[in-house]
């Protein structure tokens, strides 16, 4: 490949610092996309990243808004991708005569197979509980930004995405209300 020589001049370093500062400043911006609304009488499976008190509050809000809610926590728990990954890492550093390319291919297949297994799990849940959407909400950094997504499980298509930076006076309830409104086509 072409060899490039980078010179660390003061101008270059200043530009690099400016870009880094701008990048960190522009993180956490409010963005959303909704392809179609999620009807608030739908049966939904939810994955929530929050402590148990917050999670109960979010679940209550969803139920009181008319959603029929199925908690999907632990749905991917048995996939154990990390265990497979560690097994391949051990193989790579072992004395066994396995080439780097073979190990790379193992890792690549692990990524694809994990996605297939997730689709199978979601398909099972959809059929068992007759859920139409998977809704994900994360409040683990809610004092700065919360985010949410909705997936139509009939087609496995992502239909709603929202990153919501916390505003003055926001709390878990108001953020949840915002997400419900955004998801159902209100905001």
């Amino acid at each position: 490949m072409i060899k490039k020589r980078h010179q660390l001049t003061p101008a270059f370093l200043t530009a690099l610092l400016a870009v880094t500062l701008f990048a960190s400043c522009s993180a956490g911006q409010s963005i959303k996309f909704s392809k179609r609304p999620v009807q608030n009488n739908s049966r939904i499976a939810v994955l929530i990243d929050a402590d148990s008190t917050m999670k109960n509050s979010v679940l209550q809000k969803l139920k009181s808004s008319g959603f029929r809610v199925q908690d999907a926590e632990g749905i991917f728990a048995k996939l154990d991708t990390d265990r497979e990954k560690n097994k391949f890492l051990r193989l790579e550093s072992s004395n066994l005569p396995v080439s780097k390319r073979t190990v790379n291919n193992l890792f690549k297949m692990l990524i694809y197979k994990t996605e297939i297994q997730k689709a199978e799990k979601l398909g099972e849940m959809r059929n068992k509980f007759d859920v139409q959407y998977l809704v994900l909400m994360t409040f683990s950094d809610w004092e700065n930004t919360s985010w949410a997504r909705a997936i139509d499980l009939r087609s496995n298509e992502l239909i709603w995405v929202d990153n919501h930076p916390t505003g003055p006076g926001d709390n878990i309830e108001t953020v949840t209300e915002y997400f419900i409104s955004s998801m159902t086509g209100g905001k």
Binding site: M1, I2, K3, K4, V19, T20, F22, A23, S26, A27, Q29, I31, K32, F33, K35, L47, D49, F76, T81, D82, K85, L96, P97, V98, S99, K100, R101, T102, N104, N105, L106, F107, K108, M109, L110, I111, Y112, K113, T114, E115, I116, K118, A119, E120, L122, G123, L134, L136, T138, T145, W147, R149, I151, S155, N156, E157, L158, V161, D162, N163
Partner: protein, 347 residues
């Protein structure tokens, strides 16, 4: 629009040329371009193609070229001969022997309606990487256009962006994104693609964490498909090992395990991968797999895109830089919808 595209190509070629001037001592050697058909009427192209490529690349890059006749004589002095094809493992030694930084060889097959398909292999000795691609053009009338197009593809691939794109990606295509980004960061990429009119299959999106770290995504930098691949030379461990006699042995011994891995993930990897791709396409109704790798600072991305219908690598690009993930997402979406030859720059 055509003028702008032509201008961009000229600009990229000039930048690449300038980079090569700094590396003026680099050499590119040419091997055989073999007639893969049984039709002897096309044998004349075996001489024409390597010479035309050599001249076109010399004119474009200003790089020193070693034509295949010269390669033959260099090898003859060492009691060796220029083979029609090489195993990837043989390439480092070959380049050492002929003193070349790059080695190009390939084959061609006539297609109906006076079309011709050329398969090109481009080996880079310095990095021990190999780029394989194919291109199709009209025989006779457009043969020199085809040669120039292949030179342009190589110029773009060798630029800092390492750009290659063989197919236009229509809006409304459904994309299965795999990335080392998670959560709100991944959402920036999704929203950019959705705003550009693409549908998103829910791979990665269906989890709170993608589960793919940077080390894992970087395994996907190398992609092999039927016609187009970017790969590295397998090391010497890449062969079947002599397993101890299986007679009387119960269970799986380490060497049996190693051989099974070698069979499934090296020798028959193509089939293993095809099966998995078929299931991804089916479960997610997806048209494409888009692999998006981000650096630690999240300001530089690379992509690999596989068409799930043809199972071909159709787009790869590195060095997609921007100050934030929204802009990186927009650049990816813009380049996704761009024509096949020139990436969208300067946003």
């Amino acid at each position: 629009m055509k003028k702008r595209t032509a201008l961009k190509i000229v600009l990229i070629l000039l930048i690449t040329l300038a980079a090569y001037s700094a590396e003026a001592s680099q050499k590119i050697a040419f091997g055989h371009f073999t007639n893969a058909s049984k039709d002897l009427n096309y044998d004349y192209l075996e001489t024409m193609f390597p010479n035309s490529f050599a001249n076109s690349i010399k004119n474009t890059f200003g790089i020193k070229i070693i034509k295949n006749k010269k390669v033959e004589s260099l090898l003859k002095k060492k009691n060796l001969k220029l083979e029609r094809s090489y195993k990837f493992q043989e390439l480092p030694d070959l380049c050492d022997k002929i003193g070349s930084d790059f080695f190009v060889w390939g084959s061609f097959s006539p297609l109906p309606d006076k079309n011709i398909k050329i398969d090109i292999n481009f080996y880079m000795a310095d990095s021990k990487k190999i780029f394989t691609f194919s291109n199709t053009g009209k025989l006779e009338v457009e043969i020199f256009k085809l040669v120039d197009r292949i030179t342009q593809i190589l110029a773009l691939f060798m630029s800092e962006d390492m750009f290659y794109k063989s197919a236009f990606i229509p809006k409304n295509s459904r994309i299965a994104v795999m990335s080392n980004l998670s959560g709100d960061e991944l959402n920036y990429i999704y929203i950019s693609l959705m705003n550009a009119g693409y549908e998103i299959a829910s791979t990665n999106a269906n989890s709170l964490l993608s589960g793919i770290d940077r080390q894992l995504i970087e395994r996907c930098l190398y992609i092999s498909s039927k016609d187009n691949s970017y790969d590295f030379i397998p090391d010497k461990k890449s062969s079947r090992v002599l397993a101890e006699s299986q007679e009387g042995i119960k269970g799986d011994t380490p060497l049996m395990y190693v051989n099974r891995l070698y069979d499934n993930f090296e020798i028959h990897y193509f089939k293993t991968k095809m099966d998995v791709m078929e299931r991804i396409a089916r479960f997610y109704n997806a048209d494409l797999v888009l692999i998006v790798g981000l650096n630690k600072a999240k300001n530089n991305a690379w992509v690999r895109c596989i068409n799930l219908k043809t199972r071909e690598l159709i787009w790869m690009q590195s060095n997609i830089t921007a100050s934030n993930l929204s802009l990186i997402g927009k650049k990816i979406a813009d380049n996704m919808g761009s024509k096949t030859l020139v990436p969208v720059k300067g946003q």
